[in-house]
């Protein structure tokens, strides 16, 4: 079936030739899809504005050998448009889109990642919470969906009930004194509580956290992400946090 239709989130675009673009999509049913959108860089293009990073679209594509071809696009939610008007939200969204691109496989259904990313973009576009907290919550949940759920309370090795004072990135979370290995971090208990709240979606606790714990939590999330992805996410370096 060469022609197909799927809901998708635009992750990234690359210029191709005179006026075309290669669009990387996170499709709800088909996972990571790379497709050519012809003529979208022309000002009269019908697709151009719809195929920008952060847009949730209903797309019709023609299946190709290496790259698919976009034939029709309708906007389901123009989150990218609202996000680009807030620089902090834009940098956070870029890190979310880049992470999703790295975690999702091509041609494999990824409904959980799709809905997670759509929810994260909606939160950024609607200014519902601090952009940095939305980003950290997305990164933690996205890694959990991918099978690397961290533990911020009980010991990740022996299951000893917490809270514990040590966090080991390679072990996957909090560790008790007997499981603690050299190289474990010793974050504040409030930082681990904040990360736990972000993972569970307890926004009232997360919003009440102090700046110092958000800063420390951000470092742990970045290290945890880098450990599992095996290389850093470029956009994280440029995330602006107010």
């Amino acid at each position: 079936m060469p022609l197909y239709r799927d809901a998708a989130i635009v992750l990234r675009t690359h210029k191709l030739g005179e006026a075309d673009r290669i669009i990387t999509l996170l499709a709800r049913e088909r996972g990571l899809v790379r497709a050519v959108a012809k003529g979208v860089r022309r000002t009269k293009s019908k697709f151009g504005a719809r195929l920008e990073p952060g847009m949730v679209v209903d797309a019709q594509l023609y299946e190709g050998r290496n790259l698919d071809t976009v034939t029709q696009v309708e906007v389901l939610a123009p989150y990218g448009e609202a996000i680009a008007r807030d620089y902090d939200a834009w940098t956070a969204a870029s890190a979310m889109l880049e992470t999703a691109e790295r975690l999702v496989e091509a041609r494999e259904s990824s409904r959980a990642q799709f809905f997670l990313l759509a929810g994260g973009l909606a939160a950024l576009a609607g200014r519902e919470h601090d952009a940095g907290l939305v980003l950290d919550a997305f990164l933690l949940r996205s890694l959990s969906v991918a099978g690397w759920a961290p533990s911020f309370r009980d010991c990740v090795r022996c299951g000893e009930p917490g809270p514990h004072k040590a966090f080991n990135v390679s072990a996957g979370g909090a560790v008790c004194p007997s499981c603690r290995t050299p190289g474990s971090a010793a974050p504040a208990l409030a930082t681990l509580a904040l990360l736990g709240a972000l993972l569970e979606g307890d926004w009232s606790s997360a919003e009440a956290s102090e700046a110092v714990h958000r800063r420390e939590g951000r470092g742990l999330v970045a290290a945890f992400l880098q450990w599992h992805l095996e290389r850093g996410v470029r956009s994280l370096r440029l995330v602006e946090r107010s």
């Binding site: 504005a49 448009e81 620089y87």
Partner: protein, 199 residues
Amino acid sequence: MYEGAVQDLIDELGHLPGVGPKSAQRIAFHLLVADEDEVKRLVDALVQVKSRVRFCAVCGNVAEAETCRICSDDRRDASLICVVEEPKDVVAVERTREFRGRYHVLGGAISPMEGVGPDDLSIAQLFTRLADGSVTEVIIATDPNLEGEATATYLARALGTMGVRVSRLASGLPVGGDLEYADEITLGRAFEGRRLIHA
């Protein structure tokens, strides 16, 4: 696969943006049968552009001297600066014959996913140009895509503290098109930026 000089030429042409192996082969064979003077003119043009052309020390546009033709022109309005992404955007704005101010070329747009941040663009140079207070308005003419929009948002925030008027090019319907074919985002921006024609 060809041998020697022909293959070398195809390989070199194939490194150019937008030129694939087939196009490289077609250009190489065109040059092979072309008049020798024509090929020499092409070679001269390539050598000249590398030896004479540089970037303007003031605005970052392409120039054949220390400063470009526009920055050296006293008749241009020095109180207006139009900020663009690339030198080719200067040419596009100049074609309108509507703008008589000067330019500032950023050298791209902020793109976190490509690792391009504010420090990788000539934003600091723009602030230096604004330091003496002679500029009254900065017109941001970055591309009308989301990277361009985010770059404009960043500049507006940074320039907001410098006491200079910051404006953004209007976005909306292309002249010569039908309204029914406009996408909802472009049409939404056209409504947002509508202008009064009768009070």
